[in-house]
């Protein structure tokens, strides 16, 4: 519909420079430039390398997005930008860019929460989100369970990882197995040929005593250590490491905990919709297991297609469009980049 807000979204919280354009719930453009290859040899994202790449990429990525959508910046109703959480220097490039665009085009700017944007992006695929819903966000930087009662004004954090993020565990285990960075897709690929029941790896924070204090929290550090010990014992014994089995068993343990806790959150709160987002949501086993388990309880799982799960500008635009439609006041031009922006703040 032409009267739905046309919103541009900018994302630079980590190593992806994203510019997306949406009209309401319709995705018009999703342009992305990634510096992931520049980080690969360091085995993780180097903040300064990411920030430099954002500065180089922002103008050409914006050009591509506008061309893809067939609009000019004069047509845009509002500009949304990830203002946090994320890498401070990387966020700052996107926030300053959004302000530059907003100033020059005389448009309002919304500084938005990256995690809320991961939830909002699903509206581009599956339409308006029923509220309340439970959202599980799993990536290299975050692992959170949220109660989404009002996406425009605030979400309630239920739990989060107490050590490593889920995606971080994938990266570290990939490194142990000699697989490239980022580890997620490589573990997923290896696991297809492996036996998920080959090795019984631990499920963090699922014992009754842990559940009392950490019902919706995650811990992947113990799992990562268990995999490391298992692999190193094999290597010390001079035996080959069954990479596919280790990958499948590790992935099974992660997905088991994630889906169990997410569905527990749905059932405990009487909620029939689970949204999954973040880079780890692209994991094929996680998607399959979540859907299989949810079906038993009549819960609907919404997972956007993999390209929308990882960081991108479209998710920021989607949240921006939601805020505009809800009549939320735009941010001020002095809006800061906040690397620790709390989940309860959807827009600044």
């Amino acid at each position: 519909m032409a009267d739905e807000p046309l919103v541009l979204g900018i994302e630079t919280s980590c190593d992806e420079t994203g510019v997306g354009i949406v009209r309401g719930h319709t995705l018009l453009a999703d342009a992305l430039a990634s510096s992931v290859d520049e980080h690969a040899r360091f085995g993780g994202v180097v903040p300064e390398v990411a920030s430099r790449a954002h500065l180089e990429a922002i103008v050409p990525t914006m050009d591509r997005a506008l061309r893809e959508a067939g609009v000019t910046i004069a047509d845009i109703d509002a500009i949304a930008v990830t203002s946090g959480p994320g890498l401070a220097g990387a966020l700052l490039v996107g926030v300053a860019a959004a302000k530059g665009y907003a100033l020059a085009a005389e448009k309002p700017v919304y500084g938005v929460n990256h995690l809320a944007a991961h939830v909002a992006v699903d509206t581009l695929e599956h339409g308006p989100l029923p509220e309340p819903a439970i959202a599980m966000l799993v990536s290299g930087g975050h692992s959170s369970l949220l109660l989404v009662d009002d996406l425009a004004h605030g979400v309630t954090p239920l739990g989060a990882t107490i050590d490593d993020a889920a995606g971080e565990a994938f990266d570290k285990v990939a490194r142990l197995l000699g697989l490239p960075f980022p580890g997620g897709p490589h573990i997923d690929g290896q696991a297809r040929a492996g036996d998920p029941a080959a090795i019984a790896f631990p499920r963090g924070l699922t014992a009754p005593k842990d559940l009392a204090a950490h019902r919706y929290d995650f811990s992947f550090s113990g799992l990562k250590t268990a995999v490391a010990r298992w692999v190193e014992a094999r290597q010390r014994a001079g035996e080959p490491v069954p990479v596919a089995d280790v990958a499948a068993s590790f992935q099974e343990a992660v997905c088991d905990v994630l889906t169990a806790k997410a569905l527990d959150a749905c059932r405990a709160n009487g909620i029939g919709t689970l949204v999954v987002g973040g880079g780890v949501a692209a994991n094929s086993r996680l998607r399959a297991m979540a859907e299989h388990r949810a079906a038993k309880h009549g819960i609907r799982v919404r997972v956007p297609r993999p390209k929308l799960c990882t960081d991108n500008g479209a998710m920021v635009a989607a949240l921006g469009a939601h805020l505009v439609a809800a009549g939320v006041t735009p941010s001020r031009l002095d809006l800061p980049a906040d690397s620790a922006l709390p989940l309860t703040t959807v827009s600044v």
Binding site: E48, V49, I73, L92, Y101
Partner: protein, 225 residues
């Protein structure tokens, strides 16, 4: 021609509106705030303020000039991305000028002068200018003691800029009080020929002078603590 000037290469966050004519460059409005930690918050409102004070819409701008640094990276990028994005929307050329030139050029008065800004980590960004304000050394980043040596070799008789004040004892040169930070009008003056000629704009590439802090691991790091 109305031109916007931005510089965020030092603790001073600067936005200025200047008018470039055949006769020269005249300042119309300027905002400068010294706060090393708030470049991202300060610059855009200052741009808005100088446009408002000059009673100018963004679309009235004919060009944008930005200080390319050198400067601490995070703050420096704020000015450059602001200039680049505004230039993209407005379809006007963007011109980069070495930020140290905005200190050294206006400070030149017949004899060589050293311009220095704070590079943190006990180093300075520096350049040397001849008596007419032409850069004859730098821009580089170095410890003040080394800069003092280079300044002697280039027959420098005075030092200027925030970094020169900070390390005055090591540099051992008479100080000029102004400019302490890159002067917006001076940056516009240094780009004026290109502006008047309508020269093609350039991609604003920061003068980082330092590599990112990142060491590629030669061997795999053990995952176990």
């Amino acid at each position: 021609m109305l031109v916007l000037v931005v510089d965020s290469s030092t603790p001073a966050v600067t936005a200025a509106l200047v008018e470039v004519s055949a006769g020269g460059v005249a300042a119309r409005a300027q905002r400068c705030t010294v706060d090393a930690r708030a470049h991202g918050e300060l610059l855009a409102p200052q741009v808005e303020a100088v446009l408002a004070e000059g009673d100018v819409r963004p679309g009235d701008l004919a060009a944008i000039v930005a200080g390319l640094g050198p400067g601490p990276f995070t703050g420096l990028r704020v000015g450059l991305v602001t200039a680049a994005t505004m230039g993209q929307v407005l379809g006007v050329p963007t011109y980069g000028v070495c930020s140290l030139d905005g200190i050294g050029h206006p400070a030149a008065a017949g004899e060589p002068v050293l311009a220095a800004t704070d590079a943190r980590r006990r180093e300075v960004y520096w350049a040397v200018y001849d008596g007419a304000g032409q850069r004859i050394g730098g821009p580089e980043v170095a410890v003040p003691a080394l800069v003092a040596e280079r300044a002697r070799e280039l027959a420098v008789t005075a030092a200027v800029g925030d970094g020169a004040h900070r390390y005055a004892d090591v540099l051992g040169l008479p100080l000029r009080a102004e400019p302490r930070y890159p002067d917006a009008t001076a940056l516009a003056v240094l780009a004026a020929e290109r502006i008047r000629a309508g020269a093609p704009g350039e991609v604003l590439t920061p003068l980082y002078l330092r590599r990112p802090d990142a060491v590629a691991s030669a061997t795999r790091k053990p995952v176990l603590p």
